[in-house]
Symmetry: C2
Subunit: 205 residues, 2 copies
């Protein structure tokens, strides 16, 4: 519509997004959700305020895009050769992300209690991670460690939930044994058939 | 110091506290932490504003007292005759408290991300519950279901964490099978020795 030259869509758009999302992470980690504003993000990013408002609209839009961008990466769970080892490696990554200073992960969880948009984006991110971690269970089945038909999502939640509970909800100081302990518990329960579908439980239609 | 007659300490003080804490619960559940103010609590409680400010000072003081009052009750875990049954009953109570509308428990967890005082009070409440639930593990040891020296706190966190994770953090709709499923998983792991102190792990000094 205007006669001013349009920016080439690839380069500047992607660069703007990277700068804005880096600024969201930094603001969130340093000052928390309460202090997060579109203006502060724009100022820190070096991207024009008008551009940031037009593309991301508000704090909810910024958080959603930050979380969605995390799903764009090529993260895969480690392949250590055993179910217990794979779950321990996963838990070590989670423990690091929840205890580093500043912790973006903890800030995003806190934000999810105040923004329905952030809560939905966080949920999508977690479900994406459970899907990617399905291979951990597939490999365990192939090695004969688990029965086919093991409920991967329930197993992954059992393995990882104690870390979120202790580090985020209870605020317990990080324990170097916790990742392996929670992983070992879930692996023992899995080997005992705790997540076998159809054994003792009727599957949903 | 003043010549006005002092209220008898027992009756009115206790009655004021009950009215104020009921008002905090109601405000929190209906409007959330963000809308919680001392003035709104005072108005709803029928207790004089000046009294509420003098005794509870601010929102942090109100939340702390609400949580501490929960530890004053005589709650005990159900005795169902098996470890799996006791943990399932506990999880059913937790699932109810997290999914009822309005849910004070969920509002308090949300508040703990914004108020360090609320976070500390919530932590005290949880630790109090883990202590009271120690008897569940003691009974299982007496019945011969578990080895003596089982780490009760780790077992209780493993049994209950998936409920907080699914219902509070992931926002998964309540699943009537979840309390028994999470309890069964922890009971299987416990029977397999997952929480035995000293087996494979060196106890702290």
């Amino acid at each position: 519509m205007s006669s001013t030259p349009q920016p080439r869509p690839g380069g500047r758009t992607a660069r703007n997004r990277a700068q804005v999302l880096a600024a969201v992470s930094a603001e969130l980690a340093e000052n928390g959700y309460d202090a997060l504003t579109v203006d502060a993000v724009a100022a820190r990013s070096g991207v024009h305020r008008t551009t940031v408002y037009r593309r991301w609209r508000d704090v909810g839009g910024l958080l959603t895009d930050l979380l969605d961008s995390t799903s764009d990466d090529d993260w895969q769970p480690a392949d250590t050769g055993s179910l217990r080892g794979d779950l321990t490696a996963l838990n070590q990554e989670i423990q690091t992300s929840l205890t580093e200073h500043p912790s973006i992960a903890t800030a995003l969880i806190a934000a999810s209690f105040r923004s329905e948009e952030a809560a939905r984006a966080l949920r999508r991110l977690w479900e994406d991670r459970y899907e990617r971690c399905g291979i951990v269970v597939d490999r365990a089945v192939q090695r004969g460690e688990l029965e086919a038909g093991t409920d991967a999502r329930a197993l992954l939640i059992a393995a990882t939930a104690p870390l979120y509970h202790q580090l985020v909800l209870l605020g317990t100081p990080p324990d170097p044994e916790l990742p392996a302990q929670a992983a070992g518990t879930a692996a023992l329960a899995a080997a005992a058939g705790a997540f076998a579908r159809g054994s003792g439980q009727v599957e949903g239609e």
